[in-house]
Subunit: 298 residues, 4 copies
């Protein structure tokens, strides 16, 4: 049937590349976008690391974390102020954050001198987040919230677009195209785990898809980052998957770091502590040099 | 490790039912919500059918389809005016629709006397859609757009919440809870196909998950509908999967119907034509009677 | 790249049908294989039902079950004598079965007068199983054990080939072709649940794929059966999924039935009891008539 | 319901580790099996590499490949003589191989002095393969062919057990236990790609699951190897995924190498050529040192 040939399935066909995401697609084999955010280069020789807690729990804590991750070489402080939750019942701890969490991030930025990345979850908070955060992080559940993508893109701020845990690479690049078409070219993609039949532990939910790193980089010129903390949901697997992310060619790594992981306010099974982070930064730097002559620590 | 027991994985544990979606959860074994929308009962003996084209292509066509599906016993006219698209490049045909498509749906409703369901895709159009559509349809990609769920819920209009193609039943009921918590109890769930490793044909994208029908109905009192057209993406599978949906216990069926499927403006591989729809309505009625002493045709 | 066009992915392309499974493929639109096994027709108007326990626990029990399922209209007694287990540690109950279980099945067949289906698990037992069982059942884990498929096919006995829980329809029809190429045309396919990211309950493992029924029947002339007991692993979902299987067009249904499900020797969460089976047989018959003018009860 | 607690789902629960695979499970945190095969240590400081063609095409070719991969530092020559195929229709090239291919592998071993790994596909060939091959490779489709696992184990030869593309880690370790229970402790696990909803390119079939490396190593003391060639099915992704495999902690890497990949007799999209292999060996060695103070090149 002739009609059928016009409708590809869920993976990317050669024809897709030209017609579905012409802006996201590479123009030539070695086409790679480079841009600066708050003095940090993306797509270049140094691989930026985003580190910090899942949730901005208190002013003291976020400042302490900011100092520590900066001292170990992190390029950005990450921390959740506005957090989308699968269920509408949140502990009181969540209610304290949002605007307050954003203010604490601003305090950490000013006091410690480290750029910020935090998630923006809805249109009405875009301006507030854009004022503090150097990058607007769009979470997995908003990946195909197209009007929201457009609104974020129009701020002109750098954007990190996380892949939905059920989205194909084709879907993801389609979402990226919605941002690029607004003329916003400071776009970072972030793989954070997908739903598969197998996650190995009864508590885990996702599988970090590292095959998507070379797959995406074959097609797009945009930097692609990995987040092994959310993907694995399990502390002992974070370091090996971070190193594997670097070795697969990732252009950045996002990590959850907390001084007392077992007592983190949310998701205490996944953060690593300061000592493990410091050690991991050195190893990631070694692996970056060994595999691609890039670096993590300048 | 003790902490681990507090973090269930991706499927539903008994504890989840009480703590994550207390409003969506059944209060007793036979608890089932019933409500009326535009004179049509949900959760009762008659199983409503939503039929119409993927896209509202023209005034004449939508009126013709409305007349035909009504004559065959459909309870609602479905048709896309605002359509979320994976890629930002839409054919001119798409640009004609949106407000115009909505107006044509209103024309069909008035002229033919059939209630309407259509998707609302972004907050700024909620009022316009709510004025014409008897049910606000929330699409797969917006399932976890929580501020949008809240905004739709607050209109007080009946809502159909489609499952995201990558969402677990746990995620889906969590999203439902965001609507129920606003006091809006006229909520319909709709299964429309999930991403799995296998879709059988190279052109197909999704798998209609009928196991989720008894699974959802074991836990929730909300009506659960199936959409075999989007799930299968393939005309010859639509009728068997619609019948199977009824036999699995679904509380409604959504179908794409077009007078000339091969020339439908979008997704021409999936609609059925008038004759097949009329025949399928009779068969669905027979199966509903045979399996659950319910009916489709009153 | 030209080479790429020669290598389709995991789903079926039109070219596959002609070159990969010419014997399994339909020769014309309505091509459907019919054959008789022990007086029961496959592919015809009556939809055969296979019912019985997961494991042949004792002589008395299997005879009691045989009488009861026959009285309710079952066409075959199913029961496991040789059982493949994920782990090598089996309870003493498993060790009692195997040859002994096979002998008890033979007793039930003789005493009650009902044909038998049971799994054959390894080559050295093919003759012993073939002597008692009217159909050689090949389990999910052996679906791509090609030398074993060939050995079973060469007995000339009717064969039921269960789909592997990780196999595509393409893989499954490829395995069927290994049997057909030996000249054995009495081949029944059986869908018994696949691995997907979502199984809804924390105890469940598989998802019954009903979309594969019309998908397989579009391509192959072989009868296709469903097994909702193993797929759902959960009693309350068995009846709705059995009815849905019939409505999707399945050519047979396999069910676990036990007089005291909670005390079944293996997998006590999935069998239905005699009363539920009797009731389900009537409903399946009703649905078969309503949907395809076929029947379950003659 | 109490019964339900006894039946875990598809992932590994803490209780599983003790009861389902006591022999495969680690006895202590740092428990790691080490053993020698043909002078090569597994589980130690050096990470063995298995390299060679998908199919043993000719005597000349396999000897040429053996010389080249040995010169670049490969520890084992891999090559398919007996090959399980999804469909029974094989090109004449396949028929030439089998016993002949095995003899050519023996020639390469003798002439070049490199140990051999090749797949054994059915019981009747175990002795013939065991005579030539230093390791018996059990393919993905035979992972749960339990009588075959037992038969291979009883030869006392070292075994590589590939994960089925639809198997959970729980299934895989269960299969490993069938081998260990026979007293054969020279067992290597190999991850070679799983079925997921997303494989990125329309020609690809599998996704290399690197998260399973730390997951398996957290539970089992057995060495775990990765095969990025079969998983990705796409040459440009092989090197990054091989490096990522090393960085994730893998205890070995299996690679397809062919002097003229585009003209390889089977699967020409996946092998790398001699020059790329030589370069990759050096990079893998660098990454092994950088991440775990291990090495690939001694």
């Amino acid at each position: 049937m002739n009609l059928e040939n016009k409708f590809p399935g869920k993976d990317i066909s050669p024809d897709d590349i030209l017609t579905k995401f012409p802006l996201a697609a590479k123009k030539s084999l070695n086409h790679k976008t480079k841009f600066m955010v708050a003095g940090v280069e993306f797509g270049g020789d140094t691989i930026p690391v985003f580190a910090g807690p899942n949730m901005v729990e208190s002013q003291d804590l976020i400042i302490d974390i900011a100092k520590n991750v900066k001292a170990s070489g992190a390029h950005f402080l990450r921390g959740g102020a506005f957090k989308p939750l699968t269920f509408p019942y949140r502990s009181p701890k969540y209610n304290e954050t949002r605007e307050q969490g954003l203010a604490w991030l601003a305090d950490a930025k000013r006091e410690v001198g480290i750029p910020i990345i935090t998630e923006v979850m809805e249109e009405k908070y875009i301006d507030a987040v854009a004022e503090v955060s150097d990058i607007l992080q769009i979470g997995t559940r908003n990946m195909q919230n197209f009007p929201f993508l457009t609104a974020c893109a129009r701020t002109g701020k750098p954007i990190m677009l996380k892949r939905h845990y059920g989205a194909s690479l084709r879907d993801w690049l389609g979402a990226a195209e919605y941002i690029l078409i607004e003329g916003n070219e400071k776009l970072i993609l972030c793989e954070r785990g997908i739903s598969t039949p197998h996650t190995h532990r009864s508590t885990s939910r996702f599988l970090l898809d590292l095959q998507v790193i070379p797959a995406a980089q074959e097609i797009t010129h945009l930097p692609v980052v990995v987040d092994p903390s959310h993907a694995t949901f399990w502390r002992p697997w974070v370091a090996p998957m971070a190193l594997a992310g670097i070795a697969s060619g990732a252009d950045g790594v996002m990590l959850e770091v907390h001084p007392d992981p077992q007592n983190a306010a949310v998701d205490p099974l996944q953060p690593i502590d300061y000592a493990e982070f410091q050690n991991l930064m050195k190893k990631m730097d070694n692996v970056a040099k060994a595999s691609y002559s890039r670096n993590v620590l300048k």
